[in-house]
């Protein structure tokens, strides 16, 4: 038998006050296995299920399709800045001309949004906030990611109710959405709430992209992570500005006419 096994055997015998016997090398192996099993056991009561894949799906859905959606949404809205109701309506109808648009909406928007939102609420519930004790930028971003996630989820539910849901129940048509947005954006309370919602959503998107790159092992070192944070900070500013410009454009007189036919106030 090996020197090592002998050594361990002598050590164990010294503990047990027994003489070492070479034939006990096999039980020795079992004893070590037993220790391994024991060491694993103390964690099994809290380690149930597997959240690795759930968390990875949560992370991936945040990029594909949700981040892509927020960018496409921003570009559609920005048509209102560039060309008023006409360009905005043609951008909206472009999306609605996609084949099987309801399936695209369901599979690439609503289902991912529900999973990301609901699992995200669970992630937020699981975390503490210790920005008082550790007021570092990244720790603030960690806490803000969770706060903005909750705000964004509530905002999206409300915003979908005001717009897409009203189309779904036949109260307004896709062509009238510009008018709906006009009525929302001229209401001061709604404008403030939309501003908060937009800033929260875009922060969650930009900081989430930073975290995605870390969580999938793309930005590993501190320099890569720092540069990434600058890049996403710039993205945050640009995307927020473009959303806000669109929101301001909806307040304009051009959209007033589109809203004239609507009596949307009762819905919102």
């Amino acid at each position: 038998m090996t020197k090592l096994c002998h050594g361990v055997g002598v050590f164990v015998d010294a503990l047990w006050g027994q003489e070492y016997n070479e034939r006990r090398c096999l039980p020795m192996y079992e004893f070590v296995q037993h220790l391994h099993v024991q060491s694993g056991k103390e964690n099994t009561n809290v380690m149930k299920g597997n959240s690795y894949y759930a968390r990875r799906i949560h992370s991936l859905l945040g990029v594909i399709p949700l981040s892509l959606f927020i960018i496409s949404h921003m570009l559609t809205n920005f048509a209102a800045v560039e060309g008023g109701p006409e360009r905005f309506n043609s951008a909206v109808s472009l999306i609605n001309s996609l084949p099987m648009v309801w399936l695209v909406e369901l599979v690439f928007i609503f289902l991912p949004l529900l999973f990301h939102g609901i699992y995200g609420l669970y992630i937020a519930y699981q975390s503490n906030s210790n920005t008082g004790q550790f007021s570092y930028g990244r720790n603030w971003a960690f806490t803000m990611q969770r706060i903005t996630g909750v705000i964004t989820f509530i905002f999206i539910v409300w915003h979908v109710y005001q717009t897409r849901f009203q189309v779904a129940i036949g109260e307004v048509s896709h062509e009238e959405l510009g008018g709906v947005m006009h009525l929302i954006s001229v209401n001061t309370v709604f404008f403030v709430l939309y501003t908060i919602g937009v800033i929260a959503a875009v922060f969650h998107f930009a900081n989430g992209m930073w975290a995605f790159l870390v969580s999938w092992g793309i930005t590993v070192g501190p320099r890569a992570q720092r540069i990434s944070s600058y890049v996403w900070m710039v993205v945050f500013v640009i995307v927020t500005a473009m959303f806000m410009m669109s929101l301001a454009a909806f307040r304009g007189d051009e959209f007033k006419e589109a809203a004239a036919a609507l009596d949307i106030i009762r819905h919102v």
Binding site: N128, G221, P222
Partner: protein, 254 residues
């Protein structure tokens, strides 16, 4: 004597105490004579010699845990003025008074400033933070380690399981089973070792189970709090990369 020169100078400490693991915590204030070059441990020793509160009331001496007194053993971790750190390297001259001492909240309290860090050792066992060399015959020497790799791996080996990173992490709490940054970084260390690498996949799979690497939320407090300056967030991101690769390889049956 040197002591005479500072005879009137005192050090004020506010200590969060707890008599039993399940009893209520309370605070006691102590005022002890100042000596040059004191640290938190020597201040606690002074209280031990004369366990009297600032109000003049006799009390039980404050219990704490310490061993090496040179920041390599990890035993004396506690909250010093709200920040988790080693009491032995917390110099009185550099601290704002009154110095607030409290046990770390993440761990079960044994008594006063003593906590039970067993969950960390459990985590090391769970991720198999060792190199298995047991066999039925002499396996001979293992492969040599690349020198450049050895240099960064050495930094990871400085971990003393002190628990400061777990205390700083907002995701290590009683609502998660996250094992914390220290054990994750040890996986990177043992996966980097040429012999330890032979069990790389096994360790990665443990990190891909509940309480593993998914528990990290990137607050990056750990790397700022670590008294040994271990690049914990780099370790975590590198392991994110390794688990991602492992996941795809497994799916593709590679």
């Amino acid at each position: 004597m040197a002591d005479a020169a500072v005879a009137n100078k005192t050090v004020k400490l506010e200590i969060t105490r707890q008599d039993k693991p399940d009893s209520q915590p309370y605070t006691e204030t102590f005022e002890i004579p100042y000596r040059a070059n004191m640290n938190v441990i020597s201040a606690l020793m002074e209280i031990q010699r004369n366990p009297t509160t600032a109000g003049g009331q006799s009390t039980s001496p404050v219990c704490w845990d310490s061993n090496c007194l040179e920041e390599v053993c990890g035993a004396c971790s506690m909250l010093v003025n709200g920040k988790p750190r080693q009491a032995c390297t917390a110099l009185i001259d550099k601290l704002e008074q009154p110095i607030k001492l409290a046990p770390m909240k993440t761990f079960p309290i044994v008594r006063d400033l003593i906590v039970n860090r067993e969950r960390m050792f459990g985590a090391l066992k769970r991720v198999k933070a060792w190199i298995p060399i047991d066999g039925t015959y002499d396996l001979g020497p293992g492969p040599r380690m690349n020198e450049a790799k050895r240099q960064w791996a050495y930094e990871l080996s400085k971990c003393m399981t002190c628990g400061v990173c777990l205390e700083a992490c907002p995701n290590v709490n009683d609502r998660t089973s996250f094992i914390g940054p220290a054990a994750l970084s040890q996986v990177r260390l043992f996966n980097a070792h040429p012999t330890g690498e032979m069990n790389k996949d096994e360790r990665l799979e443990t990190l891909m189970s509940d309480g593993g690497i998914e528990g990290c939320g990137n607050s990056q407090n750990c790397v700022r709090a670590c008294p040994k300056g271990i690049p914990l967030t780099t370790s975590i991101a590198a392991l994110n990369k390794d688990t991602t690769k492992h996941m795809f390889k497994k799916w593709l049956g590679m």
